[in-house]
């Protein structure tokens, strides 16, 4: 990194953190600390919701995903606007009427204390683990690409987030997220302009998009459905609109890291507008990030891409007996690229003439070279696996950061790194804030120390923020000792998310089912999910649906049995 990059990076992050601490100094009571004095306007809420959802991995992985798989990932978000409308109509008025601090507090009003505590504990387990990953995932990529120490990167991200989240609570999280979101979107749009600017002079923007289309990257929407195969296809219109709806309902309606964002609103109207703002802008935002990834793909049709984007892993292979094998494959890949480049220029010329036959012929030639290149990349991954058995062979997360480091000018590299670190900090801050508020409000204040002073609970919230922060740092530091860590955390999340969503669905929509029925129903549902995990081959994403449906079914059955017994007792 050059000095100008350091100035931009430290200046941007330093300004955001200091501004956040200064702007929110002196929160004296729990209302101010955990709900930001209910003073947030809709644009702060909306940006805060978007910043919480956009973690660093969003900005690192999404362009890489588009590079590999095209635009179709955007369909994953089609259910989100519908979820925003449903939550605005049903959930927000209830939370406001009951003046809750956390989503789980509502469950005591609707059911009883044990159901509230069960949901809170399930949330703390899954979000506590996820907070570690939110720090670890970008830290491993940044440390590899920049040559920084992994532990130092984790400590810097973690300690800075703890400092401002502890200092100003919910308001500090939302205020800093507003600035972070501006940096993120501004930085990404500038990066997009730069990629287009770096295309060859004889290739216009329209031709670049046409080349991407001819190479199968402009596959934004897919309405097709096959009853046998489409269930396995993660990204099509139908899975996006249904699966995305369920996922968004549980994430925005029951996950405290998001609920806290809109509970800090000045009024119901401000909170609703914040959520609807997210419903309007989330899909265009994802579209832009994916499109930048597609433009990076087009850029690499005219400029030599590395055979493997993770330079750190490549260096490790060069230090083994497999180095010559890798060198030979690299040279083969470069030769294919030389030939492919001529074919791509041929495709651009054909597109200029609008001659369909010439376009089809050029397209066929380009696709043949692309397949040959892909084949070599697979062989490279095989060599990496042989040389460094525990190395990650998926390199899509490194595509965008590799482009930034190699091609962007001084200053912009610092800005883009500020984008990635801002995203890491914004989502971690929301998580720590939510973990602290759930620990204090749902466990400590409710079941341990009920008669403390407001100052006492603010102090307790600060201590819990620091405590959860250090647990997250510790987990992130030792995360590399576990295999398939991200998948492991996703599995843990899916094991609990379905049950939590089921409890909330019953609470909102099935008034006949009461506390005991839903509590024991949730425990049975969790047992079913655990059975599926240990004794079946069902894909873990389905645990969300199974857990949710099981809570509803067991709730109905148990309520019928309990109701019958009560009638007998009365008689």
């Amino acid at each position: 990194m050059r000095p100008l990059d350091w100035i931009v990076l430290l200046g941007t992050l330093g300004f955001i953190v200091i501004y956040g601490i200064w702007k929110t100094r002196g929160s004296k009571d729990i209302e101010g600390y955990l709900k930001g004095d209910n003073s947030m306007k809709w644009w702060t809420i909306g940006l805060s919701i978007m910043a919480t959802q956009a973690s660093a991995i969003t900005f690192l992985s999404t362009p890489g995903q588009a590079y590999e798989d095209g635009m179709r990932f955007v369909q994953f978000y089609f259910g989100l606007p519908i979820a925003m409308v449903i939550i605005s109509i049903t959930v927000i008025p209830i939370f406001y009427r009951l003046k809750v601090y956390t989503a789980y507090e509502f469950l005591e009003n609707r059911f009883d204390l044990k159901t509230r505590s069960l949901a809170a504990v399930l949330f703390l387990i899954q979000r506590g683990l996820a907070a570690g990953i939110t720090i670890y995932a970008p830290a491993i990529i940044l440390s590899t690409m920049l040559g920084w120490s992994l532990t130092a990167t984790i400590m810097v991200i973690g300690l800075v987030v703890i400092a401002y989240t502890m200092s100003g609570g919910t308001k500090a999280v939302s205020v800093t997220q507003k600035q972070q979101m501006a940096v993120m979107m501004g930085g990404m749009i500038i990066a997009g302009f730069m990629v287009v600017r770096y295309l060859p002079e004889n290739v216009s923007f329209g031709e670049a998009v046409a080349v991407a289309g001819k190479m199968g990257k402009m596959n934004v929407v897919d309405f097709s459905w096959d009853w046998k195969t489409s269930w396995n296809d993660r990204y099509n219109f139908w899975s996006g609109i249904t699966g995305g709806l369920f996922l968004s309902l549980s994430y925005f309606g029951t996950d405290q890291s998001q609920v806290a964002r809109y509970l800090g609103g000045k009024s119901i109207a401000e909170s609703r507008l914040g959520l609807l703002f997210n419903g309007l802008l989330k899909i265009p935002m994802q579209f832009i990030i994916l499109f930048i990834g597609v433009m990076v793909f087009v850029f690499y049709q005219f400029n030599q891409p590395p055979v493997f984007f993770n330079e750190g892993t490549k260096s490790k292979v060069y230090a083994t007996a497999h180095a010559d094998e890798l060198r030979s494959l690299e040279s083969k890949y470069n030769d294919i690229f030389e030939q492919k480049q001529q074919a791509v220029h041929g495709l651009v010329d054909a597109l200029k003439t609008e001659d369909e036959a010439a376009i089809a012929a050029a397209q066929e030639q380009v696709n043949a070279y692309t397949s040959a290149g892909k084949q070599v990349r697979e062989e490279v991954k095989g060599v990496i696996q042989k040389a460094v058995p525990d190395a990650e062979t998926k390199d899509t997360d490194y595509v965008f950061i590799s482009f930034i480091m190699k091609y962007l000018p001084a200053g912009l590299v610092g800005l883009l790194l500020a984008v990635i670190l801002s995203a890491a900090m914004s989502s971690t801050a929301s998580e720590l804030n939510a973990l602290a508020s759930t620990s204090v409000i749902d466990i400590y204040k409710r079941s341990v120390q009920q008669d403390g002073s407001p100052i006492h609970y603010v102090k307790a919230s600060k201590l819990f923020t620091v405590g959860w922060g250090f647990i997250a740092i510790l987990f992130a530091t030792y995360a590399s000792l576990l295999d398939n860590l991200i998948q492991a955390v996703n599995i843990i999340g899916s094991i609990f998310y379905g049950t939590i969503l089921g409890i909330f669905l019953v609470a909102f929509y099935l008034k006949r089912i009461k506390g005991n029925a839903v509590f024991y129903g949730a425990i049975l549902a969790e047992a079913v999910v655990l059975y599926c995990y240990f004794f079946t081959d069902i894909a873990f994403l389905w645990f969300n649906v199974i857990g949710c449906v099981a809570v509803v079914i067991f709730g109905f059955i148990l309520q019928a049995l309990i109701g019958k017994k009560e009638k007998e007792l009365v008689a």
Binding site: F78, S88, N109, L276
Partner: protein, 48 residues
Amino acid sequence: MKNYHPVDEEPPTEKPPFFKTWKGMYWLVLGNLAFMVVLFYVITKFYE
């Protein structure tokens, strides 16, 4: 412990900007989704 309130009781809220009722606002979000799906479909077909 707080009292339980029936969930179908709609509390009074401010009007949304630009619309007379919240329904208009919700239709704006859903309409925007529909518009984007159609736009993306056109883009997909155009560049296929």
